[in-house]
Amino acid sequence: MKIFFVITGIISLIFLAGSLSAYNEGFLIKQGASGLNNDIFYKTFGEFKNFLSDTSYVEADVYYHGGIYDFHGNEKESGKCIAHKAHREKTDTARGRNTMSRKAKPSLNILPAVGEAMLITEHRHLKGDEEKEIIPWIYYAIKLNPHNETAYAVGGFWLAVQLKKPEKAITLLKQGIVNNPCSWEIYATLGQVYLVNKSDYKNAKIYLEKAKELIDKSKADKFDKMRVYSFLAEAYAKLGKTNKALEVYREILVFAPGDEAIKRKIKKLYPPSSQKEAEK
């Protein structure tokens, strides 16, 4: 009996700690300071909190795929992906689509048939209004680990682009910047939201410039760089700063020389006739 009271006590304390922590963090953010170092969850769970945060983030992906583990085929990312791949292979075996040797089949018969029927093998995504169902898991991923930059960026993107709530996305991403001042991902997403969803080019330029500065110092791949640079160039173009936009597009061509889309954008901004005039 004692053990139940102990468990109840511990769980109650965790939730009480969470509430106090949320209040404390909110208060410190209002004061302009990061509440991270004073986070009770953080102090209690340490690194385990990060694991829970990652699990919650993966759960958001699982929700997007109708409760099924990873369909992207990225086996390195999580054990769950491998588990799902294994499930699919087993299902294929049951349907005679697999190259698995016939010798192995007779050892599995009655019970596996029930097991196979229990599995969900269809592939589907959340649609329309259903998409908001992933938000709680993004929320918990952030709550559990305010250093989870990807969760902030993805959460901001979903709120603004998919769910058409740019104001909420901006609030979330600004909170993300308070906790992760060196994250190019969050700056880039915030800039993107200002540019695409708010048409606020001035703010977009500010955040994208910061994102560019940070991504240049990071080990991000060329596709991420292209994304940040393209948005920044677009913000410059919208502000009428054509030269700066061209400068950024040309920088893209340094690490992506054959990119036709960028070449087209350069042509659009700076048609050949203008080039000739400039040469004269």
Partner: protein
């Protein structure tokens, strides 16, 4: 007929424990507290988000009912032996088989009633939140959870003849979670191992209880189609066979056990 009344008398006695002891109330208030907390959560001010509540709520009621089933079943026989109440009980016209059957049914009823109470609260919360649910799937989820509780009660009663209450609780719960999480590995081993090893793994596959059969959470939460009738019937028959085997084994062991 007399045998049945003896078994039900023993089961009714176990049921009184549910009312008298505080375990159920602790879980009930804990569940209410947690579900109320999650119900009132606000996610960046988004409205109409409800699937997470269905998911977390169902996981919680399953977990709490499992703990109730296993903990009650695990302490039925050892507590009778420890308090020596088993001697006057067996002095009455109650056989050891009756005792095992009565204790199993008692634990099964206790956990079943606890789960039903949790499930009704759970349904009221998810409907209040406006979450859609398939009635057939809701019924299937309820049935499958009841089957699972029966199976776990039978296993815990069987283990209670060998282990102390704490050890039984640990072993049964570990077995449950291990099979629930890692059942796929055994199947992979059967398919990928050489013939002799594959047979050994195959034997294990049929010997170990398939707790994964009772998991309808993903279907329920993500609004997938209900299970076909043949699967429900097969799982019911499987559960019945497994429970019968466990109870038969428990009766056989208990008959030979010196008290």
């Amino acid at each position: 007929m007399k045998s049945l009344s003896k078994i039900f008398a023993l089961a009714a006695h176990a049921f009184k424990e549910l009312v008298r002891k505080k375990d159920f109330y602790v879980f009930l208030f804990l569940f209410l507290g947690l579900v109320f907390f999650f119900y009132n959560e606000s996610f960046f001010g988004m409205r109409g988000v409800s699937r997470y509540l269905k998911d977390i709520g169902f996981s919680l009621i399953t977990l709490f009912s499992i703990i109730i089933a296993v903990s009650f079943a695990a302490k039925q026989i050892p507590s009778e032996i420890e308090s020596k109440t088993i001697y006057p009980l067996l002095a009455k016209p109650v056989s050891r088989t009756h005792l095992i059957l009565g204790k199993f049914l008692g634990s099964f009823f206790i956990s079943g009633i606890a789960f039903t109470a949790f499930y009704l609260i759970y349904l009221s919360f998810i409907f209040a939140r406006g979450e859609a649910a398939n009635a057939v799937l809701l019924a299937q989820s309820y049935l499958f959870s009841i089957f699972l509780l029966g199976l776990l009660s039978a296993i815990a009663v069987f283990f209670s003849l060998f282990f102390t209450v704490a050890a039984n609780l640990t072993v049964t719960l570990l077995l449950y979670f291990f099979i629930y999480w890692y059942n796929g590995i055994l199947r992979e081993l059967i398919l990928s191992s050489p013939k002799t090893l594959s047979r050994l793994y195959g034997a294990l596959y049929y010997l170990l209880p398939h707790f994964e059969f009772y998991d309808t959470r993903i279907r329920l939460v993500h609004l997938w189609d209900p299970l076909p009738a043949w699967v429900v019937i097969s799982v019911f028959i499987y559960t019945l066979i497994y429970i019968s085997l466990m109870i038969w084994a428990a009766c056989s062991v208990f008959k030979r056990k010196s008290l």
